[in-house]
């Protein structure tokens, strides 16, 4: 834990003693009157200043004068006073204090102040993250991340939404690193397991609990004790599994598969998904109470196509310390024009391909070849063939309709590129005349009135 320098402005000796006990581990100084407080603030550097409002003397609320002085010096000013009338609270906040607590519950309040101070500092230090950990110049994305970092040290569950390859896991890890939790960051992809295996992975299992369980194994929940459990692709979890995990989250205890002995674990949940959870709830595929449990703060990560200002900073980042690349003007335009269905993962792969090649100067042709190759790979291998919009459309309308629309889009585009010549389209796309005409019957093209070309109608 960072040692903070803290000034406590308080005239009551017993309260000073109480504060000293609660702030043990930090460097604490005391000021018993207004003059001493002002002198110390002028001369010293403090992270936090706790201020009592009544400091004796004729002015009954002399502590109020300390607030602007502390704020002007960039100190996190917190009033902790027995004077907590509405008027006094308003006055203190108007003078710039960050928090106001009534005296009497120091044990809880001081911890809350320290945590909040760290949250704010984490948000202020986000510049380092944007330069080295999560490269983005997009203001909306930056604002979302800064907001998330402010909650890093709380227990609030965080839900990260965004298409594949937008950095959801990286962000989860960054939040964990700023959480001050002592345990590990433990990630699991919920879509990668069958229900039975996911249960064993999460809760662990005893030896012989099922076929193949040759030894007892600690589950992810236990591994994440005092740390963070990152649930990727949360939307893929079955209803039955959601019920079991919900119980474990609420009770902070669970039974490993095949065990009667409950295990306890204190973990914070960060979830991620590319699916629309509200839609899953409506479809009955996500329990509302489970959603409530995993949904505290929501962070939206935009696809790369919607934050193109990040493309070149990301390329610079990916090539740092290695071969640097230079792009022709046309290649740059092509990069900005590409839809990046695989997001940052796709860009990283492209940069890796380009950097491994012989030329440092990248032309449009080279770029186009690599992008085409990426799209030409089997979808399962590249993960980039199906873009976010196509995927969402298929979820909404069903796969048949999505395939139909996709087919139509390609046929219409090719027809347009070939000035309506159906023979050329048939040859270029290697499709049957039946498919071409059935597509045109369902979706007549405005420019399909072309000169007869010998094809059957």
């Amino acid at each position: 834990m960072d040692k903070l320098i803290i000034l406590v402005v308080e005239d009551d000796k017993l309260t000073q003693k109480v504060m000293a006990q609660h702030l043990g581990g930090h460097c604490v100084e005391f000021a018993g009157d207004l003059d001493t407080a002002m002198r110390k603030l002028a001369a010293g550097h403090y992270d936090i200043c706790f201020i009592d409002l009544r400091l004796g003397g004729d002015d009954e609320c002399s502590g109020l004068q300390v607030i602007p002085r502390a704020v002007a010096k960039g100190v996190y000013a917190v009033v902790m006073s027995g004077c907590d009338s509405e008027g006094m609270v308003d006055q203190a906040y108007e003078l710039g204090c960050s928090d106001f607590y009534a005296k009497g519950n120091e044990a809880a309040n001081i911890g809350a102040v320290i945590a909040k101070y760290h949250q704010n500092r984490a948000g202020c230090n986000a510049g380092h993250i944007f330069a080295h950990r999560f490269i983005t110049e997009d203001q909306a994305t930056r604002a979302s991340i800064v907001e998330a970092l402010k909650y890093a040290s709380s227990d609030l569950p965080i839900l990260i939404l965004g298409p594949s390859g937008t950095g959801k896991t990286s962000l989860g890890k960054i939040i964990h690193e700023h959480s001050r939790r002592e345990g590990d960051f433990v990630a699991i992809n919920c879509s990668a397991y069958t229900e039975e295996l996911l249960e064993a992975e999460l809760f662990g299992h005893r030896k012989g609990a099922f076929t193949g369980a040759s030894a007892s194994r600690k589950g992810k929940l236990l591994q994440a004790h005092q740390g963070t459990l990152f649930l990727d692709e949360i939307g893929a979890m079955s209803l039955n599994m959601q019920t079991k995990l919900l119980k474990a989250i609420e009770e902070r205890s669970f039974h490993p598969v095949g065990s009667d002995k409950p295990e306890c674990s204190d973990f914070r949940i960060i979830s991620a998904t590319l699916e629309n959870l509200q839609r899953l709830i409506a479809q009955g595929r996500l329990r509302f109470d489970f959603f409530q449990r995993i949904h505290g703060l929501t962070v939206n990560l935009k696809p790369l196509a919607q934050r193109k200002c990040d493309i070149f900073p990301l390329i610079n980042f990916f090539t740092q310390g290695g071969k640097r690349l230079s792009f022709s003007a046309e290649a740059r335009a092509c990069l900005l024009d590409h839809s990046w269905p695989g997001n940052m993962r796709e860009l990283k792969k492209l940069v890796s391909l380009l950097a491994s090649g012989h030329e440092g100067r990248v032309t449009k042709e080279q770029l186009f070849r690599h992008l085409t190759q990426a799209l030409g790979e089997p979808p399962a291998a590249s993960g980039a063939f199906v873009g976010e919009s196509q995927y969402r459309y298929a979820l909404d309308q069903g796969l048949d309709q999505a395939v139909d629309r996709f087919t139509r889009g390609i046929i219409m585009r090719n027809l347009s590129e070939n000035h309506g010549k159906k023979t050329k389209t048939l040859a270029a796309l290697k499709i049957s005349t039946r498919l071409l005409y059935s597509t045109l019957r369902k979706h007549p093209a405005p420019e399909e009135e072309e000169a007869p070309d010998g094809l059957p109608a």
Binding site: D12, L14, K17, V18, Q21, E60, G82, A102
Partner: protein, 69 residues
């Protein structure tokens, strides 16, 4: 002297010092002996201050000075 500010000050003293006393009492149990003695001494002084303020408050109230005024 106007009675209202005097009453407010007494009431604040009682509230503030009682809060300190409560917080100190919560800490007392885990304190090492040396610290507990010092803490207990400060708490006793605080309790006397509270008593003094309460007696003054009682006197003011018996003179008919109303806190609602």
């Amino acid at each position: 002297m106007d009675s209202r500010p005097e009453l407010d000050k007494l009431l604040h003293d009682v509230q503030s010092k009682s809060a300190s006393l409560k917080s100190a009492a919560q800490l007392l149990k885990g304190c090492p002996l040396g610290q507990a003695r010092k803490m207990a001494a400060l708490m006793t002084k605080e309790a006397r201050d509270i008593l003094r303020s309460l007696l003054k408050l009682e006197k003011e109230l018996s003179r008919g000075r109303d806190l609602k005024a």
